[in-house]
Structure formats: structure tokens, C-alpha cells
Amino acid sequence: MTTLDQPALGEPGGYAPEPDLGTPPVASQADATVTIDGRQVTVPAGTSVMRAAAVAGIDVPKLCATDSLKAFGSCRMCLVEVDGARGTPASCTTPCADGMVVSTQTEQVQRLRRNVMELYLSDHPADCQGCARGSCEMQAMAVTVGAVEARYGNGRDHLAESSYDASNPYFDYDPAACIVCSRCVRACGEVQGTFALTVEGRGFDSRITPGGTDFLSSECVSCGACVQACPTSALQEKSLIELGMPTRVVDTTCAYCGVGCSFRAEVQGTGEDTQVVRMMPAKTGGANEGHSCVKGRFAYGYTNHPDRQLHPMVRDSIDDEWRVVSWEEAVAKAADGFSAIQRDHGVGAIGGISSSRCTNEEVYVVQKMVRAAFGNNNVDTCARVCHSPTGYGLNQTFGTSAGTQDFKSVEQADVVLLIGANPTDAHPVFASRLKRRLRQGAQIVVADPRRIDLVHGPHVEAAAHLPVLPGSNVAFVNAMAHTVVTEGLHDEAFLRERCENVDSYLAFIARPENSPEATEEVTGIPAEQLRAAARLYAEAPNAAIYYGLGVTEHSQGSTMVMGMANLAMITGNIGREGVGVNPLRGQNNVQGSCDMGSFPHELPGYRHISRPEVRAIYEDLWGRTLDPEPGLRIPNMFDSALAGTFRGLYVQGEDIAQSDPNTQHVEAALRSMDLVVVQDLFLNETARFAHVFLPGTSFLEKDGTFTNAERRINRVRPALPPRQGKDEWQITCDIAAAMGFPMPYAGAHEIMDEIAATTPTFAGVSFARLDAEGSMQWPVTDAAPHGTPTMHVGEFVRGKGNLVETVYVPTTERTNRRFPLVLTTGRILSQYNVGAQTRRTANQTWHPEDILEIHPADAHVRGISTGDLVELSSRVGSTTLRAEVSERMPAGVVYTTFHHPVTGANVVTTENSDWATNCPEYKVTAVEVGVANARGLTDAEAAARDEREPAGRS
């Protein structure tokens, strides 16, 4: 392509909106060269005249066009003249043809535009707030076309009868300012895929409405796409109404889920006075391409929440009050305490846990501190409790612990097999991409016990919903593979050329016990339905597997990951666009924290600690001898703590007391330790057991990188300085130094330089290169200097793909007469993980408490109605929450989220875990549910719980 399709950004340092070329890019092999106002420009054939003009540096006036949406051709502002053509066509809907000569500024089109603008203005308030704020495209356009007066009187117009809608907590809708250009309606449909907006009425009575109700009670999911698309101030962020326009932009990355959306932090002020006006999704972002969800777009207010801790604190016993101290004193207490424990109880008596919320650089220094300063390998990360089976399973089969594709790959998929994931709630921006592909005709098979939104909804109808009973995933995937193989649908050529253990695997999977008929009772899926799904997957030109924690958080999670890899390999669905095995990662930097050597048996880049040549790299650089044996995993740390051999723990940004299973066990372990150091934004549940509290930084204050689920390394840039006065990596380095192992870095970029110098897959990564390229997907090597969007092309990382015999071994967690139901857990859109961030934002509006979903039949026999307070109990504990009778659940299975500490869903989960990685079996717990005695919390109980976790209800 000879085209330069990206205009220069606005003035560095100043505020400019992201450039808008009017219509989306067109993919075409052929070029068209056109002349616009005397300038020649070459674009892909089929590109609109409007976009070609923008590329040539000529802005054609527009109102209904924006480059995230298909051309609409309704506003009549972008009229141009084309030599040899009649009339004045709209430039947004006119494709470039080779040799075309276009004039955008003839007297005729200028007159037409001015007149059209006057008509708009006649129906627009003269005192519209958008003018005063300077946020309105229409105002700028009126100036551009020279419409200084409106010759048309105010007749019937929108102004008098419109009602202002401030129901959404993050944005307002002022119909008086609306010009009914439909950009919002189209954004909601085309970009977000929710279709919550419509034009009501007809002709002059036309109004934009979220379906005849207000925004909050509508189908709107508050993703912000409509507000972003609005060219007037009809839809406007509340924060911008309050604060006014931003004055500068900091490009950064969202810190919520593993999609890793790129954002422009639009801010005012400098230094400590910096205020974030709004977060705008970046069109240049590789993961999100200009889209966002309610969390990333709006839920950043927790960074300024009054609960945020800004001072280091210490105490001698967990029954004492916290005492605010200097950084020096807090660091010294942590370091001296750790050293003392090691002196008295051995080198291995302490350890650290790194966080998937933190940057690669922050995580890297934690594992470095543990391995070099602590001198052991007792380092683990919260990925242990979510995607450790992904790391194990994909490494065993493909040779690398990561997903195989980029998100864009789904645009080439013909059939998507979605297993144990709920993207519209947990990975909304990927879900929008997926839904767009489904609207283009791709099919989806949903394997999930719950009838999630992707089974059935606006413009979405799954080809099949397979409600796999919790715990039977391996039987399910084996039955899929059995069908493929025994019906001869497998890709023999791919298997022979690219894989090993082929014959033994084919013989294993063809065994009758793996057939859909034999597994029907275990999986709950009728054999014929499963066979149809297997055929659909196997016969698609491109079939892709996407999965989530519904796969990993099982006692056979690792086996299931390998089972899916087998299924992809036998059908040849690996190594090109549109296929693959793709984990949807929970946290923003799960991939990165694993990459950075957070597991006790692996150094950065997934290299086993027992390999002397790998240890030598670090030993030479760090000047310390490394322990060649694996250290303790998180659950092992708890067990060892209770046994008295593990007595000191450094916890970075993870609330293990709330998020880890079997809360009673975890709390007892924490209580038994001599020194617990917690580094976090808030005094979380774990901090109740801590002796040293080190305040952390929010993503808006961090300098570093996150790596998302598609291995994309994105820059995180500080919009404001650390509010508590210290970078988080510096805190870790200070503790290490106080323990006699200085880790001096001039900045986070030097940490990345060390990572790149020591880790082959990161060889080509540096802040400078990331700044230049935007983002890169590892491996970034000499062979792939710009990164690797699709892995295993031509050859697997491990050479041959390894087919593993995945025998189904049922979990030991069984239902019985006392606990006849199975509890499974999940997520909801507005909340995130344990809710530490989202509960401290207006996202509380949508989901103020955890709800137990129960099938009508199960509810009926227990006398439970929607809204009842019910007691949920398992063999390890019980908790109380409100019930919702729901046909989304199959009979025998109940479901809840764990966003709220008051509910304490993990009070009932057991310590059962994945056989290979100890990832907890959150998804299967035998429980009983009954109407609770109390109809609600008493004030005293509520107060006690509020005190326990002071989550604001702001």
C-alpha cells in the first residue's frame, strides 16, 4: 500500500481530539488516485472521497460521519462537486474512483452547506452549553461553513418539549441539543452491538431515545460509545460538564480486564494538581481500536476515593491500631522483620506474591527481590488462582504459555467455540468485536452451564448452547474430539506434518468411553446435539476456541486446556488468522505477571529454575546464587504457614483474604504469620492481618507496561505523579536494598531494559520502541522485530504439537443429600473481580450486591422467590445473599459473583484445586440453599460489615 493513512497528531502537549477521517478504512488490493482541490492522493480503491480528502489534509465539513461508523449520508454537510458528475454528492458515501477530480470548496457547495447549517441552528438552542464548553463539533462546523446567522425563525422545534435525562451516573442526555444525526444510534449498534438506542417517531418529531425510557432503566450498558460519537453536547460526560475541557492528553492502558484497551487520559492541570476529565478509548489501540466498556471509560474514580491510603503504616500486632510512619521506617520494619524470620526459621520461611494488576516492571522486581534478596523461590502470583492451567496446558501442547492469536483474528473466524467464558460481562470490548463478526454471519457455539447473553439476544443467536455440567469439561471436550475423529473430520495432513503422539492419541480418543453417548450423563448434553456442534467446529474453514475461567478453575483445569489444544490440532485450527486457542484473561496483566517469572518454578520467559544456563544469566547479572529448586505456591504458603514453617509474606496488590478459596483457611494462615506486608491502594481484607502497610499507586500514576491476553505489550504512562510519593517498583527495590541487595534503577524503562536483555522473547522490547510502535505482541525478536500477532505459524514453538491423552477424572467434590446443588461463580459487567476498584465508583448503581441465581424448579421446592435473602452453605462454610430465580441456570446449578466482601462467596468455596497447578476449583462447589432466617441485615450488622471493608457507596 502506498498510502499514508494516518495524519499527524495534534500539537504535542496541547489538547486535540483524536483525528477523525470521517469514514472507516477500506481494505482493498487496488489503489485509486484522485485529485481533491488540486492535491493528488492515493488511497485503497473504495475509500470514501471524505476519507481521501482527510488523508490529503483537507477537512470536508461533516456532522453525521465519523470514522468509527459506516457512512450514513444524512446530514448533507459534506457535499462536494465531482468533475463530470451531476449534482453535489455527499463525500462520505461517494467512493473514490481512479482519476476522479473533486472540489470541496466551490461557491455552490459552500452556499448549500451554509444553508443546511442554518436549518440545523434554527432547531438548536442559542444558549447551548456545548458552545460555552467548547466541546461541540457542530459549533466548530458552523464557524467553518460561515453560518453566522439563522435566517429561519424558531418554529416548532425540539427545544421546548425535551426532557433532560441525567439518570446515567456518568453521562447526561440533553435532547434539546440533539440534531438526530444517528451517530449514537449507529455507535450503539455497529460498535458496541447492544442496539439500546433508536430514533423514536418520525419527521420533525424524531427523537433519539434509549427505547422510550431513561438511560439507566434501558438496555444501555454504559460503554460510552454514543457519548464518544455525539457531535453536539446532547450526550456528554458528567465529568466534562463539571470540569470543562481537558488541556492535555496522556496515552495509556486500562487497568481492568485482560483485553487491555488503549486510552487517552484527557486531563487538566499539571503535577499534583492534575485532574482526569475523561478517559477516551484510543482508535490507535491495537486491542480495542477506539472502543471501551463502562469500567475503563468511566470507573476510574476509585483513584481519588477517600478510602485510598496515601501513607505507610505499621503496627506490632494485628490487634493494634495502625500508626502512620515515614517510608524509611515502614521499609525498615518490613526488611528487618523478613531478615529476622530468615535468621530464626531459615531462608525459605518468607516469600512474596506479585499482582496481575501491577505493571510488568513492578512484578519483575518482586520476583527479583524474592529470588535474589530473599534467596528462595517462594514467589507466586494471583494468576495461580485463575489462569495457571492455561500456562501449564498450552506449554505442554504448543510449547508456550499464551494464547495463539490477536483479538483481531476473530474477524476471520467462521465458527467460534466459546467455553466457560462470558465476554459480554467480563471482556466487553472483545465481546463487541465478536458480536460484530456474528452479525456478519459467523456462528457461535456456547459451552457454559449458564445461558449467557451470547446464547440469545439482539442480533445474536448461538448455533448451539451446550450447558455443560460444572466439572465435566474434560468429558465434554473429549466427546467433541471423539466425534471429529470417529466421523473422519480430522485434518490428517496437519496431524502428520505438525504433531506428535498422533497414533496413540487417535486410538485413545476413539475409545467408546469418550463418545458423546457415553459421556451424555456426565456432561448433561444430549449426544446428537454435541455431535452437531463438533461437526460445525470441524467443518468450518476457520474455527476458533475462546475460553475463560470456566475452563481453568477446575480440578482438571490443566487437562481441559490440553483437551482444547488437542481439538484445535486435530482439526488443523492453529497457525493462521481466524483460528487458535485463546484464553480470555481475567486481569489486565495476568499474561505479563506470568511472563515476568512470577511462578515459583520459572524465571521470566517461562524458563525452568532448574536450568543452569538460565540461572547463570541472572546470577551473573545480579551477583547472587539462585536456588535451583522450585519454591512454594500460594496454597502451599498457606499450608506451610499453618504448619509454622512459613512466617513472613509480602503481598503486592492482591486481596488474597477475599479472592482465594476457603476464606477461613486463608485467614487462619495469615493470622499465624509473624510478618505480613501488604502493598495496596486500600486497606483491603488481607490488610486486616498485616503488620506493615505500604500504599500503592493507581494505574493513572504508573509508568510501565501491561501485557494483555493477546500477548500485546502496551505502555502505561503516568497522567499524574504517584499520590503517595513513590513508584511501586521503588518500594520493592527499597525493601530489597534494606535487606542488603540494592536494585538500583533510574526509572521503569531500565527495568524493561533488564527484562529485554535477559529474556529472549522480549529481546526487542524497550519503552522507546513501544512509544514508536504503539504496542508489540511478544515474541519480539530479531526474526519478528515488530512482534508476533499469530503464533505457531508453520511450526509450533515446541517443534511438533504435542497431543496429550486427556483422560476424564471427575472431581472429588460431589453433590450429596446434604449438599445437592452445584455452585459455580462468575462475573458481571459493572463490577470487577473482588470489586476493590469498581465498588468505589458509581458502577455500584448497577450491581450493589452479589446475587444468587437459581433455577425456578430448585427455587420452588425450597420456597425461594426472587429478592429473598437465602443462606448458601457448603461443607466448609456458609454465607447469606439475595436470590434471583432465573432460567439462565440449568436445574441443579446455582450461580453467584464474588465482587462484594460482604457476601464472601469464597467463604463457601473449597480448597480443591487443579491437579497440575493448584488453581482453585472455584467453579464447582457442592452446596445447599435455603431461605435465611433474617429478612435482611440489621443496622448493627451492616455497620459492622461496613467497618470491615470501608467500601464507599459513592
Partner: protein, 59 residues
Amino acid sequence: MGNDIARQLAHLDEEEAVTRIVAHLDRFWDPRMRRTLQALAAAGDDTLDPRLAAAARRL
């Protein structure tokens, strides 16, 4: 935990299963946990899967 590993490999013949259990424990388990397991096996703890016990003796 060790029993879970043995259960996953129950379909293999004895020798292969024990070899794989040993490899897994070597690769992923902290040495202290391995020693605890060895002590349990030596003491004849009958809650251990026989193949796990065999693996423990071979560590």
C-alpha cells in the same frame, strides 16, 4: 494434592505413571513438600495413592 496427580495418571501403566509423577513433583514441588511426602511414604501412610507412594520413594 499428590493423590490428585496420581488420580489423573491412573490410566497409565504403573511404571509410566510413577515416572511421570516423579517428573511432575521434581518440576513443580518445593523440596520441603517433597520431603514431607517422602516421610509420609516412609511411615507407610495409607492415605497415599500407592503410585504416589512409589513415586515418593523414588524421589
